[in-house]
Amino acid sequence: MFEILGITSQALFGQLLIGLINGAFYAMLSLGLAVIFGMLNIINFTHGALYMIGAFVAWMLLNYLGVGYWWALVISPIVTGALGVLIERFMLSRLRDLDHLYGLLLTFGLALIFEGLFRQKFGSSGLPYRPPAELTGGTNLGFMFLPNYRAWVISFSLVVCLGTWYAIEHTRLGSYLRAATENPALVQAFGINVSRMITLTYGFGVGLAALAGVLAAPIYQVNPLMGSNIIIVVFAVVVIGGMGSILGSIITGFALGVAEGLTKVFYPEASSTVIFVIMAIVLLIRPTGLFGRSS
């Protein structure tokens, strides 16, 4: 037990843990946004809504079909990712030759539709979702109590993030992807179906959002508003990290979650604005973000 500036170590570590949890979600969501942005050059405004849908698919699997958490972790990203594929195939792909702002506006409209539909069906109060039996309880680390489910979320999301990073930076498929980002026409000329690659990339980014949604379901409640609450913060994270940078979005996601948690300990009033303040400062010093390339 020790104290810093009148704050007990329990409070400090408790907030650090919450910060890491939030950071895990920021990282997974901004990673998906970065992957999509790199390929399609649009900011996916639907991302928050799809994260919400991911959580709801898990909830519906459990309550309508009796399918539990572990299967939901697999099924929900696939189902939601398929929805993403449809969106890309039938809507976004038709806007490819227009100003990219149209893509932003389209995804914004879709986000409104999804949120409205789920609010109509489920109201705006949250629905509970239990963590799986294997992960209930917690471990006493001596300096703090660590709930098992939270430890699982942090480690699993780290694995997912780093796995995605590895796949994009160090595999053959990833090199096609990066090449298609740089010069789609040339990659197409080498006989790779760039159009399909774009569609699948979008689906993958959406799947990541849904996966984050399933992970979030037992921590926050399953709520139609959960997407729009988090997405704006994630946008700020993306601006700070630099748009399109894979590793940058992972690092900034976790770092900003922790920064937010620490602010909650030392200066609670600023905890909801701190990320935006950091964003303003970063923009003044490095307009392209911490890890971004100049456009």
């Binding site: 050059n41 702002l101 539709i113 704006i232």
Partner: protein, 323 residues
Amino acid sequence: MSTQPVSHSEASPVNGTTSVVPFIALAVCLIVGPSLIYPVFLMKALCFALFACAFNILLGFTGLLSFGHAAFLGMASYSSAHAAKVWGLTPELAIAFGTLVAMALGAVIGMLTIRSRGIYFANITLAFAQMVFFFCLQAKFTGGEDGIQSVPRGSLFGLISLKSDMAMYVFVAVVFFVAFVMIHRIIHSPFGQVLRAVRENEARAISLGYKAEQYKLAAFILSATLAGLAGSIKALVFQLASLTDVTWQMSGEVVLMTLLGGVGTIFGPAVGAFVIVSMENYLAELGSWVLVVQGAIFVLCVMTFRRGIVGTASYYWNKRQQG
């Protein structure tokens, strides 16, 4: 960028020889309006119409999509409500104060964001607006979730009472008309022509010696100021300043109004605002379906109806005139 820009310049004549007929028609509508439609509804629509026209200066004529315009509407609304209620200022002074606050905020946010463009600009303005939202949520003078309620309308110049809805309507209609004509004049001034040049081809405008960034900043501040004017008036009309006006959904709504009416047209945003406001009025009891309908209109506009109502009308009108 080689891609097609968001706005459609053919929708509005470039030289300053637009006929005065539409403006006379607008004036007639403003005069006849209250005898046909409930004045409070009209005032609401006019406030949003002004808001959308202000927004259109940026999106339609400068090519910048701001996704954070609610910050200016909301802050001005809080400021003018506070000035009228706590400081007891007369309405014109309260409105002037709210507008000035929006102008100052526009200058600060503009200077921080104007160097970015396209999607980056949209994203960054959105984040700044969210910062303003959290400030309004926590600051003492805004009254948090309750907002500032029962704001007195007061007497114009201390002489004419604005208590009755009719008196208030006349005031709002006059301010709207003046601001609308002013926007039209600015768009067709040499300044407006430079903005257009920047929108169409920024590099070329710079090579011709125009300081593009300064022009964009000026447009941003102008747009923020007029959005603030709309917000200030709105606070007095409804005698209420609340968090709704600062939310990012409000920023999205103004984009929707402009898109539906016709980006880059003079009358489009006002038409769009009327359609959206009346739609919300009629669908109010349907709850969350409003969101769904709004989203659907967004999707339809983007997929198939990119010229908007006024843009499409004037496109076919011009076609008929030529053929």
